[in-house]
Point group: C2
Chain length 447, copies 2
């Protein structure tokens, strides 16, 4: 993309309404614009990152054998009356009346709707196991929306639902989700720690929240620092293997890691003192096994091998897709702006032309642009006539992990400059080597 043809309305001043760094940078980098309280338009740059994140979530869910679909944003109140949650949900549920006077709502989650789909179409154990998911906009009418996309009212979430014949199978689905979430977050450059969470009114041990450590996190968390050494990495896993998935769960959940809701001071104190940590975290996902709560209430039963009708065991599993943009920025920025991890960056690199209009510099930039594009990489080429300092400031603010700087002086020596946003380290090298280096970086970083 050539910047002269793009829509990147960066702001010079810091908007006064933004209290945390991710919100500030998303506004300043022209990624979002508030449409009304807690509701945002995703400007082109923000939309690109949102799509990259969404794509990673899709790829990892499909890899785990989960099936994508899409449920609507608006739901009938009737299903929620059936599950008993219509009255429970309180004012965070946005209630709507249509022109015929029917009670509707903007879905804050989808257990009822997916259970209705299941019971309409599945009646035999032979169709299990089954995990369906979607990525769809949700609405929660927060009383005080804040922190930009981190606690908005209209937000994008991936929510998946497993249907299994037995508790054991459902716990395997739980483990599969845990593994797929570890992979998902790591591809985004995040360390998200699964922490034992509170099952809420339903109770039960089978729920973990995934938290990204960040000073601005809303949750207080307590953990054994040994857990931060764990990496899923590029190991392969057979998602059908109960044993393999269970082993990952044990590896990643055997160390103490809890939110304040489930924190146990006595257990915590058994950790060797130097490894005890308390910090703040941002919740970016949750997995949950809840047994037959909805299948009992809504009659989602299958016939088992013995010919008996039994309620299915279910769980629901969520990733906060739009909120992840905020979480990533909270975890990866400096005082100049955002630093995107390679896995989610909106453009793979920036090209800064130090002397737009200079025939040689323009030609070198065009050639770089063409070479990168031919490789499947997407550069953002600042072809404007801004001065160099302003161009660098914009590139730093929007956080592209790599920048190629092209100027007449370097070109005389046959070189351009390749700069890492994270380290600030620059290297002079011939244009074709800069291209090769980027291809290598993204070949490794992109699965």
């Amino acid at each position: 993309m050539r910047l002269s043809r793009y829509f990147l309305p960066v702001l010079k001043e810091t908007p006064s309404e933004a209290q945390i760094v991710s919100h500030r940078y998303m506004l300043r980098a022209g990624m979002i614009k508030q449409a009304s309280a807690g509701i945002y338009s995703w400007l082109p740059l923000g939309y690109k990152v949102l799509r990259r994140i969404e794509q990673i979530v899709h790829e990892e869910q499909v890899r785990a054998g989960h099936i994508p679909m899409l449920m609507p944003t608006l739901q009938s109140a009737d299903l929620w009356r059936e599950s008993g949650r219509y009255d429970d949900y309180g004012q965070e549920m946005l209630r709507i009346t249509d022109r015929h006077g029917r009670d509707m709502l903007y879905g804050p989650t989808n257990e009822e709707l997916i259970t209705d789909i299941f019971r309409s179409h599945v009646s035999s154990y032979r169709d299990l196991p089954l995990t369906l998911y979607h990525i769809q906009w949700k609405f929660r009418d927060e009383i005080r929306p804040r922190f930009g996309v981190m606690r908005g009212r209209e937000f994008l979430m991936k929510d998946g639902y497993n249907f299994d014949l037995t508790k054991e199978d459902a716990l395997h689905a739980y483990n599969r989700h845990l593994v797929s979430y570890l992979r998902t977050y790591e591809r985004m450059g995040l360390q998200a720690i699964p922490m034992r969470a509170d099952g809420g009114p339903i109770g039960g041990d089978y729920t973990h929240e995934f938290l990204v450590l960040a000073e601005t996190g809303e949750s207080e968390v307590f953990y054994d620092s040994a857990i931060t050494d764990l990496k899923f990495g590029d190991r392969t896993i057979d998602y059908d293997s109960h044993a393999e998935c269970q082993a990952v769960l044990e590896e990643f959940t055997s160390r103490y890691a809890r939110t304040d809701e489930t924190h146990d001071e006595a257990l915590f104190n058994q950790i060797p003192e130097p490894r005890r940590r308390s910090a703040r975290g941002i919740e970016v996902g949750q997995i949950f096994y809840f047994g037959t709560k909805y299948s009992d209430a809504m009659g989602a039963v299958v016939v088992n091998e013995a010919g008996e009708r039994v309620p299915v065991h279910m769980g629901s599993h969520g990733i906060g897709v739009s909120r992840l943009l905020g979480a990533i920025i909270e975890a990866s920025h400096d005082d100049k702006g955002i630093i995107w991890p390679e896995g989610v960056t909106p453009f793979h690199c920036g090209i800064v032309n130090l002397k737009q209009g200079d025939a040689e510099a323009d030609a070198a930039c065009d050639a770089l642009y063409a070479a990168l594009t031919a490789l499947g990489l997407e550069p953002l080429y600042d072809d404007t006539t801004e001065r160099a300092g302003a161009k660098f400031a914009t590139m730093d603010l929007i956080g592209l992990p790599w920048r190629i700087t092209v100027g007449p002086r370097g070109l005389k020596n046959g070189v351009v400059e390749l700069t890492s946003r994270r380290t600030g380290v620059s290297e002079e090298l011939p244009p074709e080597q800069a291209v090769a280096r980027l291809a290598q970086i993204y070949g490794l970083a992109r699965a």
Copy 2:
């Protein structure tokens, strides 16, 4: 995808509520399920087609130089009061009150919101031309939703908005949209004819609707049959060239083609009698130049080269993304089911194993599956133990354009059967040749 691991709840009976063929087949093929009146869940097969269509729309918009972004589903009523449309819109607008008593609405379209974004960020002619678009769910509270996704209440639409300094530039944007829409529909296997439409209360000559001819269409249309010979085909076009885009507009709109709203009997009768056609059509898109209507009302002005503040010239341009599934099926089916054009098919081909459990047949199917997948094609492999007749009926119903049938008898002679869904013609050939044939077909069909 292996069918045994997929969720494809096909129905044997025709649901009684479905009045038109696309609605019937979408229900029977397990593509959608009604969640409430005019609101649908997209089951996995339907979702896959929806995504393919969405992807084509994105690719063609980006090719035309238009910039993707995303606006939220819910909007504040304030902007609509500013444009004067809040009261005009009537009961089709779903009005919502949030917990703080603020008036909101589920966006039926986005002129106000995009104009607000524009006026907040753009103030100079140097940032023009600019065309922004998004693909987002909309809601229109139809009094009688019907025909499945063809006239639903919650529907997916691409809507794009151009901002230009002059009327001439804005008409170039109009032409660019016309060209990009021609390409878009042709890639979906559709012939969508641009017809002069009614500008509604705004008036003006500058609006065309794109109509797909189909018996079940809601609109009566009148046209010169010579227009159906026109194809955009694989010609290349420079979207920056006013002349090239204008020439396409003239080529595709100089023949008589109008909906009943703008039909002119006298003009129509000037067409040589054998070429006069009246038929029914499904509207799948509309382009619209409306000048400074919104920029005047909402103060969207830029400073021009002479230093004067002038309102921008705008247009809006829509494609009915979810409705296109219905339109494609209306235009492409037979009495056995859907016939997907290659450009939008949910799976590139089906593999039917005539003797699941037979070691040789299973191995041949696995090898085909692996070979197709390695090429980037996505087969649906019916690996169930259903009898052959039922497998064929399902493949015909869900409409995959190609089917490979694998059985012990053929394998003895080293062949499988490749069958075209459209023609019904089968050909026996060695498995590797079947794979090569499909690669060739999709290499040509996919841009």
